[in-house]
């Protein structure tokens, strides 16, 4: 560093002021150095670990059959399986029930068990006069005799709009659960009332992963 020892008398800043200014700068510079030192002290070693997860979803589906052997997917109301009632359901008489069988199973390849809800719905004029019951039978087939021997799942529910939740479970693929539907006309069934369809929806919800 060089400094001039002689200055013109007309210099703007006095020597004292310049000295002070230099001291201030020196102090500031010292402060900066301290700041860097502090930042270095705060820095620490860093290391990372990585862990990865792999995820896959399962498959799940149910299919139904009206004869106990040929199963197919009936995924929408418009493509519902037509139940075949033993006695003509188009010619109902008061308190004379009709019976029809339906079977449902987990589709091959499903990876989870299922719990099944059943919902009935009908807008037909005859529907308020109809109630239905469902039992589970050991073999496919549905008559008054097999109905009586079955395990009750739904009893005397409305066909207009009703839901029975979690009525049975499906715990193995392609192992059918055989159902027997009984539809009973009320004693007050009017003669010649306009008929129409009743649609039962079997809604399966996946539960635990199959072994």
């Amino acid at each position: 560093m060089t400094t001039t020892t002689t200055r013109p008398a007309t210099a703007g800043a006095s020597p004292d002021r310049r000295l002070l200014s230099r001291r201030v700068r020196a102090i500031l510079a010292g402060g900066l150095v301290l700041g860097i030192g502090a930042a270095v002290t705060l820095a620490a070693w860093n290391d990372s670990e990585f862990a990865t997860g792999t995820f896959g979803s399962g498959s799940f589906g149910i299919e139904g059959s009206t004869n106990g052997t040929a199963f197919a997917d009936h995924p929408a109301e418009g493509s519902a399986a037509g139940l075949t009632f033993e006695v003509s359901a188009g010619d109902l008489a008061p308190e004379e029930p009709v019976y029809a069988g339906f079977a449902v199973q987990l589709a091959a390849g499903s990876t989870t068990a299922a719990t099944v809800d059943i919902s009935a719905s009908s807008a037909a004029a005859i529907a308020p006069s109809l109630t239905y019951s469902v039992v589970r039978t050991t073999a496919f087939g549905c008559t008054a005799a097999t109905f009586a021997a079955g395990t009750a799942l739904v009893t005397d529910a409305a066909t207009t709009a009703s839901t029975a939740a979690d009525i049975f479970t499906l715990a193995a693929v392609t192992t059918p659960t055989n159902l027997c539907f009984k539809v009973t006309p009320a004693a007050s069934l009017p003669q010649g009332v306009a008929g129409g369809p009743v649609v039962w929806e079997l809604a399966a919800e996946s539960t635990t992963t199959l072994p």
């Binding site: 862990a51 995820f55 635990t208």
Partner: protein, 183 residues
């Protein structure tokens, strides 16, 4: 006159010479070590870098909505590490697959003696898997493998996810844990 004074000055300094002795102080310097390693239920203790991440043992190959899958990753310092520090879930470093939008998860730091299961997550909210943010989860680490931090993950398919869209699909996610030494 001036030369005479100079000679006198030299004479004076010689008279002032005396015994001398020196002292020396020395110090050795070495940097500390801070390296972390991790393991999962299916991988042993080792350093798992981004190219060779530890596999979380979810066994989640056939997931269905609302069914939770649990897996843990343990983190500790190596035996040669000389300083302690902290470890925190830093980010989701990669996430891909058609199943990804249907997944949600949560993560908590737990004691390494505790099994990673539903009980570990008291009231924790689920969050979507996101590359931009992760839940806050951190734990302290002692030097030389003296403590183990366990991070428990729970992953599930969101309730109500459409089966038609997501059935039979897959996703893979990698999380990064960043460890910082305390000094």
């Amino acid at each position: 006159m001036l030369a005479g004074a100079l000679v006198l000055g030299i004479g004076g300094s010689l008279t002032m010479a005396a015994w001398t002795d020196d002292e020396y102080a020395s110090a050795a310097f070495a940097s500390s070590r801070f390296v972390v390693e991790s393991r999962t239920a299916s991988s042993a203790w080792t350093s798992h870098e981004e190219g060779s991440p530890a596999a979380l043992a979810f066994s989640a190959t056939a997931m269905s909505p609302s069914t939770s899958y649990f897996a843990h990753v343990d983190v500790r310092t190596t035996a040669a590490t000389t300083v302690g520090g902290t470890v925190a879930l830093e980010k989701t470093s990669s996430a891909a697959g058609p199943l990804l939008p249907a997944l949600e998860y949560r993560v908590v730091p737990i004691s390494a003696t505790v099994t990673c299961a539903a009980a570990a997550f008291a009231g924790q909210p689920y969050v979507a898997i996101s590359l931009t943010s992760v839940p806050s989860a951190s734990a302290a680490l002692l030097a030389s493998s003296a403590s183990t931090a366990r991070f428990c993950f729970e992953v599930r398919i969101k309730s109500g996810s459409s089966g038609d869209t997501y059935q039979g699909t897959t996703a893979a996610v990698t999380w990064q844990f960043a460890a910082t030494s305390s000094s």
